[in-house]
Symmetry: C2
Subunit: 441 residues, 2 copies
């Protein structure tokens, strides 16, 4: 336990930090309660999340929920909730299932979220209504000696890049980490078990739910057995966590918790790599849609997938791809070749299908690069390819791909050839070429 | 019927030619009978084939069968049969199901074939024993006015390249042509019906056989209902005949019967074509195995198929291919490109499959062109390709492909790059590039 003890020292909030966090929470709660007292409504302020559960890593987010009686209609809840938040925090409006206020208080990130106070979590009116139940469940069930185990697992997931249920990461939420420790007992047992997880791994605490889920990982929520706590975990995060766990067991290293910084590759090195590989790169650069990350990342994934399909449907072979957001949204495709010959084999129907007459009419008399001929009973012609250059294809046809909805109206540029070897593209090129896992850097 | 009448004039043997053929047959029969009379066996000479049936085109082959009683054993039949043939014809020994003598007599090709004289064609001891029954059947059933129709259809099939059941053509036998005229009545009705044939078209005269065949065309032999007379017809000959028939109905032309000569393309034109297409060609040149055509052509097809699969399995895209026999056996492949980049996407198992550990061991630590990474839950690595040059692949690995058995020990050469633009390869390059049907030339 040598290494893990060292890590724990670095990630457990010390007495001074605890007192700081407690003071911040206490001040915020007082302010919220003061705002509540000015209203003629039975509202309640409730500290939830990792601070409430004492499973936080240093500099945690503070989550305070303002709980409304179910009799208040949704519109009123939102108006009053946001108003309280603004008065306490200033901050900015954000949107999950309904709007809330995000701000900063003495250097800590704070979310002030209105929700309904309900009796039974199976009657929730919005997803956030479940959170207070999760907090209560963990406070009641997680033993004090398990809290360091939660912290270790969170830091391990952060370091290996799978921590966070948000769309950007598609990984493990804090609550899921706590449930894993409850399920397996401690950090190392979790890592050992996870190293042997199979796709569709199904976990629960006392009772298993009845619903079948098709996710890579299933953990029935003990607070609401109809829900899979692990539903945000993507197949890639799931796989990467298995990979990280089995690598860690082979050789423990602090880099699993605190990976080294990945340096951007120099242009020269990038150019040399592509010369060595003999492949080509095309980058699509979109203007960045003005939407929150949880909306943006799914749209980037959809756009990346559709553009890859557009390339494939025109016979370009996509070897690898990467996306990245900076001032623009960049999507890069490594191709076997960005050029194809004009000649293409085009197979038609067999002679005994009615459609064969139309095929012959279309292609006879020098309209292709050959006359139609018969091969294995099928009509075939050597036809001219519509696009022989990948960049040209993307420039002219990207609008016909099913892009993320906010990408449809966006300006874009297609970068190819020598232009890709520019400082602006160092980061995405590094993503494409440097395939080391975070702990291998 | 204007065009068909003109064609008939050209293909019907005139009085003088008939007398010539009759004299040749009569002389040969006398010679055979004289040889028979010197033996103490009840043998019988029988004229079979198109001359016997009076459905021949000018300069026919003469087929004379020497019929043995079934009591003679096979070895004796062969020895005696060949001996008679040699005495009458000189000629050379050929081999179908058993050996026979092929020679030339007064300018006509002659086959002298020993067979068994049996009572019932379902008891045949060798395939050729059926031939006398076919001849008798046609002589009895084909009306005189249908003989010109048979001649027209034969010539049409010759002109369009589908006449002949031998392995080189994989087309329609003379007997099948006669059965088609019996089935449909005349030439034009056959052409009209055939233009609408579907794959698996099933025909018969009075009775249909019980056996199901999986051939493109099925015609139950009226003399032996367990046999499909059309079994030699390949899917390509079947398709081409449908194509020819429907084209002929659209515009009748003597070129369907007497196609113009296909000129070999000039090297300059071939070079220009490939420049225009932006594709590459690789030719495999084998020494010619010393075997008869009926053994050679199936082996060429098998070799062509296996080499194409070898190319495909190494990611080369085969656009088209052609084979040809001259002093060598030449097999040409038109490729999208004869070069591939060294980098290749290599997909491994998902992380949760046991085999993933071996994949990681194999590829970690710079053994590929990238470290292993995860995509859609699968392990992936950018690996080095084994062969980046199609010609090199063929040179080094062609022996591992499942070649025709007589190609396995043969010397071979792989021709690629500028070397393909040489006089020796004009014919096969023309096969590859000139895809006009014979009647379109």
């Amino acid at each position: 336990m040598r290494l893990e003890e060292e890590i724990l020292k670095r990630i457990t909030p010390d007495g001074e930090h605890r007192r700081f966090v407690d003071r911040v929470v206490s001040n915020l709660m007082k302010k919220v309660e003061k705002e509540i007292s000015r209203l003629n409504l039975p509202l309640e302020a409730r500290l939830v999340g990792s601070v409430a559960k004492d499973t936080y890593l240093p500099n945690p987010d503070i989550d305070i929920f303002v709980m409304f009686p179910p009799s208040v209609n949704r519109r009123e809840l939102e108006t009053i909730g946001l108003d309280i938040g603004r008065r306490v925090l200033g901050g900015e409006e954000r949107y999950a299932e309904h709007p809330y206020i995000h701000g900063n208080y003495e250097g800590l990130d704070v979310d002030l979220v209105p929700c309904y106070k309900i009796e039974n979590p199976s009657n929730i009116k919005s997803a956030v209504d479940r959170t207070p139940f999760h907090t209560e469940f963990i406070k009641k069930n997680l033993a004090d000696h398990q809290k360091p185990e939660v912290r270790l697992l969170k830091q391990f997931m952060k370091g290996t890049g799978v921590y966070g249920a948000e769309a950007k990461i598609q990984g493990f939420s804090g609550y899921l980490v706590e449930l894993l420790i409850l399920r397996y007992g401690d950090f190392l047992s979790t890592v050992k078990s996870a190293s042997e997880w199979k796709r569709g791994e199904t976990l629960w605490l006392e009772r298993r739910g009845d619903i079948k889920f098709n996710d890579p990982l299933i953990f029935y929520d003990p607070v609401d057995l109809t829900r899979n706590v692990a539903s945000p975990v993507s197949i890639d995060s799931f796989s990467r966590f298995i990979y990280a766990c089995s690598s860690y067991l082979r050789e423990k290293d602090e880099r699993f918790f605190f990976p080294r910084k990945r340096e951007d590759w120099k242009i020269k090195k990038i150019r040399e790599y592509f010369k060595k590989r003999e492949t080509a790169v095309v980058i699509v650069r979109f203007d960045r849609p003005n939407i929150v990350d949880d909306d943006l990342y799914p749209q980037i994934r959809k756009t990346e997938e559709s553009v890859a399909n557009l390339l494939k449907s025109h016979d370009f072979i996509v070897i690898d791809r990467a996306s990245r957001v900076d001032r623009h949204v960049l999507i890069a495709f490594e191709l076997q070749s960005s050029k194809l010959p004009i000649a293409k084999r085009h197979e038609g129907p067999p002679m005994w299908i009615d459609h064969s007459k139309r095929f012959l009419e279309k292609w006879k008399g020098g309209k292709g690069l050959s006359e139609p001929f018969i091969d294995q009973g099928k009509l075939v012609v050597i036809a001219k390819r519509e696009y022989t250059d990948a960049a040209e294809l993307l420039r002219e046809r990207i609008k016909t791909a099913s892009l993320g909805k906010d990408f449809k109206g966006m300006g874009f540029d297609v970068v190819s050839g020598k232009t890709v070897f520019r400082k602006d593209y160092r980061k995405i090129m590094t993503d494409l070429l440097d395939k080391r896992m975070p702990w291998e850097i």
